[in-house]
């Protein structure tokens, strides 16, 4: 069973409510995202945390080319694009069973 992947998604973010929703989706996404900041800078990496229960809500990400974690206030985020490969997509158990059966059939065929 594969959920539809968000890979390639580039949502419009017209208001804070939408931003919160998109951040939640990015937090659940198992791939890199591109976060566009208010100064036009783009950060590419894995968004691993978000917290809205504090005075200044923030997200945290490991940048692809960086070493440590970055902390970015929600207020500075203008856009989030789901640019990296979704590592959770396309790995279904059913697909694995199919490939296993195919491998078995190939190895037991007369020419194998």
């Amino acid at each position: 069973m594969d959920d539809k992947s968000l890979e390639g998604w580039a949502p419009e973010i017209p208001d804070a409510g939408t931003l919160a929703e998109v951040v939640d989706r990015a937090f659940d996404y198992r791939g890199d995202v591109t976060v566009v900041l208010d100064d036009g800078r783009e950060l590419i990496g894995y968004l691993f945390n978000r917290n809205r229960d504090v005075a200044e809500p923030f997200v945290q990400m490991f940048e692809r080319e960086g070493s440590g974690a970055s902390r970015i206030p929600y207020a500075r985020i203008r856009a989030i694009r789901f640019t990296g490969r979704d590592m959770a997509a396309g790995n279904s158990y059913a697909a694995w069973l199919r490939s296993r059966e195919a491998a078995k059939a190939a190895s037991s065929s007369p020419g194998a």
Partner: protein, 340 residues
């Protein structure tokens, strides 16, 4: 049951100490994940699906030890990822043993023989290799999505036992588990000479590829009741007998999500080992700011309704043992008689 007396004593005095101090929420086992990288990609596991640059990262030994000190739990379980792929695993384990923490190194054992031959570890009552074994050869290789892994694990277990290490097994059961096959598996593990076995039903990770084969509550009760109705005396389980009774439907427990707190690259995971709803920077923040009443079966949270996994319910079983004479009596009776 097969938990050594010294370990039982440590846990008992720790839990009673927490109760005397009036702490209602305390950690029992720290789940320390130094890395997410693994040499397997099992269909039931949602732990390893990250971009490459995240998988290449790992905690430092100093970060791990700081988390251990901060948490204070008497037992440390090192899952992952595959901890034998952690470049500092020897140093980490040595430091934990020096701190007299009971360490369960949870491994698929593919690299176990190689690491033992390299002299990375020294036998100790504080160190147990907890080898992932999801059943007999065919079931296990199917669960880990690779043929030959069962045999590699058995080879690793034999080598560890030969060298005098404590070895336990940990088994996750899915809805395709057969009680008879599992009983044969218990016999085989005991024949191998492992100290004890740990069992748990699987949890449906939202990101795990195999969503169709996780056990629902009633099915869990039926499976465990059939499997453990007449347990052989020689079967040893390295876990609370009351937790096994809970899996059989003989105990009614509520989840203790803070019982096995998880620390990894991202911080302290909220609320538990299985759900990833955010991260706290410190253990104190985790304990004080997580809305614990939103988790567990009573909360009505959909994600918790079918969960019966060890990391939430074994701490409940242990707490129950030391909270009432009834719990203590039931636990002692099951331990002494082997009856569940």
């Amino acid at each position: 049951m097969s938990v050594p007396l010294s370990q039982m004593w440590t846990v008992a005095t720790y839990v009673l100490g927490q109760k005397l101090r009036g702490r209602t929420r305390y950690p029992l086992v720290l789940m320390l994940e130094p890395l997410f990288r693994c040499n397997l990609a099992c269909a039931g596991c949602g732990k390893v699906q990250y971009p490459g640059h995240v998988l290449r990262k790992h905690l430092t030994v100093e970060q791990c030890l700081a988390a251990v000190e901060e948490c204070g739990a008497p037992m440390v379980s090192i899952p992952g990822g595959e901890p034998l792929m952690y470049p500092e695993i020897g140093r980490l384990v040595k430091a934990l043993v020096a701190r007299r923490k009971y360490v369960y190194l949870c491994t698929n054992a593919i690299l176990l023989k190689e690491k033992l031959e390299a002299g990375l570890f020294t036998p100790s009552k504080y160190l147990s290799f907890s080898v992932h074994m999801d059943g007999l050869r065919e079931e296990h290789d199917e669960a880990v999505c690779r043929d030959g892994v069962f045999d590699q694990a058995v080879e690793g277990i034999r080598e560890a036992l030969r060298r005098g290490f404590r070895v336990t097994t940990n088994t996750t059961l899915f809805d395709n588990a057969s009680p008879i096959s599992m009983q044969m598996f218990f016999d085989e593990m005991m024949d191998l000479g492992v100290e004890g076995m740990m069992l748990s039903p699987g949890y449906s990770y939202s990101k795990a590829p195999d969503q169709e084969h996780f056990l629902r509550r009633q099915k869990t009760n039926e499976l465990f009741s059939k499997m453990l109705a007449n347990p052989k005396k020689r079967w040893k389980f390295n876990q609370s007998p009351l937790f096994l009774q809970f899996l059989m439907g003989k105990q009614e427990f509520e989840c203790t999500p803070w019982g096995n707190p998880t620390y990894n690259l991202f911080g302290w995971q909220r609320p538990c080992y299985l759900l990833q709803e955010g991260y706290a920077a410190t253990f104190k923040e985790l304990m004080e700011t997580t809305r614990w009443d939103e988790y567990g079966r009573k909360s009505g949270n959909d994600k918790c309704q079918d969960c019966m996994v060890h990391c939430g319910y074994e701490p409940t079983a242990v707490d129950y043992t030391f909270s009432s004479w009834k719990g203590f009596r039931q636990s002692v009776a099951a331990t002494l008689t082997g009856r569940l």
